[in-house]
Symmetry: C2
Subunit: 330 residues, 2 copies
Amino acid sequence: MKKEISNPTMKDVAKEAGVALGTVSKVVNGLPVGDSYRIRVEEAIQKLNYQVNSYAQGLRASKSHTAVLLIPNTEEPFYASLAYHINLALLKQNYHMLLCSTDYDSNAEQEYITMARQHKVDGIIGLTYNPDLVIHENIPFVSIDRCIGSHVPCVSCDNFAGGQLAAEKLADLGCKNVAFLRKGSSISNEPNKRKAGFENGCLARGLQYETKIMGDDEPYEAFEQFLESHIVDGRLSFDGIFCVTDGLAYFVLKMLRKLNQRVPEDVQVIGFDGIHFFRDIDYVCSTIVQPIPDIAKMCVRLLLDETMQEKSSLICLPVTYAYGGTTLKG
Amino acid sequence: MKKEISNPTMKDVAKEAGVALGTVSKVVNGLPVGDSYRIRVEEAIQKLNYQVNSYAQGLRASKSHTAVLLIPNTEEPFYASLAYHINLALLKQNYHMLLCSTDYDSNAEQEYITMARQHKVDGIIGLTYNPDLVIHENIPFVSIDRCIGSHVPCVSCDNFAGGQLAAEKLADLGCKNVAFLRKGSSISNEPNKRKAGFENGCLARGLQYETKIMGDDEPYEAFEQFLESHIVDGRLSFDGIFCVTDGLAYFVLKMLRKLNQRVPEDVQVIGFDGIHFFRDIDYVCSTIVQPIPDIAKMCVRLLLDETMQEKSSLICLPVTYAYGGTTLKG
């Protein structure tokens, strides 16, 4: 895929000049490089109207230009996409990314942070649900989806607004009696606000609602039992379900098929995240879309721009609703 | 999720001893560590019957203990899973992994290889379709799915056997007239052998077959036109389709729904890779399963054990067939 160069990067300059990325970096940073190379790079910079990135340039030369990404895994689609976009955003700034898949193992997370410090890594971007995580003050840390402390900036989507939007959409689409299903960590985190937002939206729009909250370790079958217990004369008493993630929605859709409930005719389902399979243009389900590329870029910006870190404790990026076949067409 | 410790790792020892992973590593490698720690680690090693990994231990101390993974992205499920398992396998050997998402950009790939050399990275694992890729002889490189040269070991699944298995399965399940659909790079690579294996299997089992091969840049619609052109009186003339990946099968299944063909009653579909959505136990479709964790472990083993690199030019790991709802139950 070719991209239009509306916002040219160092890579574009390298391509245009026919030189290595490192050569462009040297020219931009005023390091020695052969005259013929310098001229080609300067011409390419002018031709593309490339803007030197001030926050990347402001870094001390002594840095390792390496950042660590702590993430549970790259198999679950939300994490996979986040890892990809953070990787791209770092590479764009000439930063290398050490990937540390944690598998939700608190000991491993703490080890990787210690490792990062020992290896003089410049910073850490972490998505972790470890309540006891110790962050060293001398290494910049940007947290995703969990506020760790006032000295650690946190980036997430606007989870509260997302929950609210889900309730409003279900109301707009004619639902009267809805359910919120959640499976996830019980420790304080930003995605937990989806519930509060949803309840708020339900109250504002006069929707009846019930919630079913489950821990990470509980089996999915409990949701099936919950749904089954709400079937009267073959018909589910809910006409709308908001699932805390598209992943949960995927399993709930399977359950609803098994329980002979038609989606979206009998019950409409909205997930959260905005997952596509195999880079399809269609979504897995109707969903509240997280702006994953923007979250990634914001994490990298916060990590590399020290002046921003002090100002920002929580940055919530806007979400949107997308139709994905499991709601009526609005 | 707790795993049974049938083959304990350094991490298991650390957990058992209640010490950091680095402490176990020090004890195992004979580096100084406090006596109380050493005793705890040694007791844990004995209790778990942990086998010290000789090839990890044989590495020179001067190495950076960092490897690069070149992969197109972590969004497509096969790559996402491969990146995850390679990351785990490297971390298990106390190796850090620099992730370089290449987006199939040949220039970027070459840049990352140069970067790896400059940063004294110990080795590179690469999945790349760049025919002009220059590999430096002084840095170990393990290729996935493409034989780059006799000095570069290549790891893949047994693609030929997988194609053959798909043909045999379709024959066993009663198909008479089948199609092979492929979309992908035209440069020489291991997955291309799926076609040859499939044709071989069709000939051996007396199946009529047709093939439709498309380049990476061509639109999916061409497959829909191909399928539509084979519909006579509302019925597809193929009773079996083998798609080169589960990703392609996913789009073909959508097309078949649109064309009102029932799967598996009218036409059975087999993909390749063995993808699950959201870590579901069910597969996306009936499929030839690649042993992704084994491919990952083999790449890491080849990268870190210099004696193995010389011996192995191509290692093909066995595939299996798995039912995933798009074939009849055999």
